[in-house]
Symmetry: C3
């Protein structure tokens, strides 16, 4: 009978301990794992959003780079005929060499040859002005490669001591296209560094 | 006495087990939950920072879009009077039609009417040059809608075989404003495609 | 013998309970802590990535700001000599005052003095055109501070009732540099608001 009682007490004791153990451990489990799964979802959402932001930023960066490069490319020049004398008349057409450089950003204009070479495809503006005495006719042609774009002309006019003229045009150029001012055979202009000039600039790339 | 001893042993055993259980479970609790609350704060901070970055990026994107649109809008033209002949004199003022198009990006210049129509509000530049014989006077007016902006004029001068001239101006235009070159009644200019020209471009939008 | 049995049962019972406790608690540990350390690593990676994005965005923002400021700065003017009369000849050189303002964005041109003052260092374009009778010679100089950039000249030509001319150049200016058109002593031009003009604009900052 003692033995029976002892075993009963033992079993009831074990049952009590078992329940205590389950309570303790299940309580521990509840305080961690549900919160953890929640923060996993949030973290996943943040990572997705961050990747989207990164992608958009990369696009914006490349767009800004393009704008910066376009803004950075400067091509502009102005020059005047250097000789204080008449240029021409001569028997052959002649490319006018404007040896007095006022401006030459990008060095697309060559002051030794008078030829502008387009560094990039784009829309360019050119203007040219002349002064000349009336003793000979004047014909200046703004040449793109081998074609006339715009011209200035004046007759021989002995009664008029001198004449002036100018012209200008916007011209699309491919990279490497050459632009210069050609004086026709048997025509002339007057230099002096300041009055017979040639200017141009890159309006925008294409 | 046996019974008493047995119960004592049982109780001490249960106490031992109980302490073991508490140790185990409290240890489990410490290794999870404090860290978890910490990472919750960090995650919250990251989410806030990410939203701030997203907002700033949106602003930057819209600013870049504006810059791109301004950079993308190109309006530029150059044209010359096509006829190889005198234009005028005639009894009524006449809008000069420059039928030889050199450049016409944006198609704001109409080569059939000689009229440029501003596609957007902005600051525009126009230049025009002429050549004409001395047999009749010359008067060209750069007209904005119905008002003269700048002009070129020359007298009748039989002793001078020909004359040249030009003028240019920056003009603010509203969208739809019309700009063209008008030849006065009883005046003339000379064409040939290359010497009497009209050019313009959009300097910037407003 | 009863006692011995009772103690044996008790020990085996305690061992059983002990094993149960270990199982329970170790199970609880596995379901929390390894995941938690994993999410800690992920959160750290996200925070690092976010900081990198923030840094890049700051750079892009400042680049866009520079582009916006360059795009926003507008300097452009056109004006004509207001008097409907001859200007000159006079004994001393004279700065021409173009009192009829057509355009003056940025107010860098002063219509009372005829002087343009560069608001920023940059590349500028200037063009000027004149009309004058032949009774006196013409010499106009585009002056930067005290140096001639480009010029227009014409002789006295009684047989030619009038003449026209123009010139233009791109010029680099420092902030505060002055640009204007000077009429030489004993020379003249004709006004009327529309035919003798002066224009300029900021092509780009430097």
């Amino acid at each position: 009978m003692n033995l029976t009682f002892c075993v009963l007490v033992l079993i009831s004791g074990l049952t009590l301990v078992q329940s205590v153990v389950e309570t303790e451990t299940s309580a521990g489990t509840q305080s961690c794992c549900p919160d953890l799964s929640l923060s996993h979802q949030e973290l996943g959402a943040v990572k997705a959003k961050l990747e989207a932001v990164e992608t958009k930023l990369k696009e914006t960066e490349s767009q800004v780079l393009v704008l910066k490069e376009k803004e950075a490319l400067k091509v502009v020049f102005s020059a005047g005929i250097l000789e204080n004398a008449a240029i021409g008349p001569i028997k052959k057409p002649k490319t006018l060499v404007y040896g007095r450089v006022i401006t030459n950003v990008g060095n697309a204009y060559n002051q030794n040859t008078g030829i502008f070479v387009a560094p990039v495809r784009g829309m360019y503006y050119f203007s040219f002005f002349y002064h000349a005495g009336g003793g000979h006719p004047v014909r200046l042609r703004l040449i793109k490669n081998n074609n006339s774009v715009v011209e200035i002309t004046d007759h021989k006019t002995l009664m008029d001591g001198a004449d002036n003229g100018g012209n200008a045009a916007f011209v699309e150029l491919q990279q490497g296209d050459q632009v210069f001012v050609r004086l026709d055979a048997n025509h002339h202009v007057w230099g002096n560094g300041y009055i017979t000039t040639f200017s141009g600039f890159l309006l925008h790339q294409i």
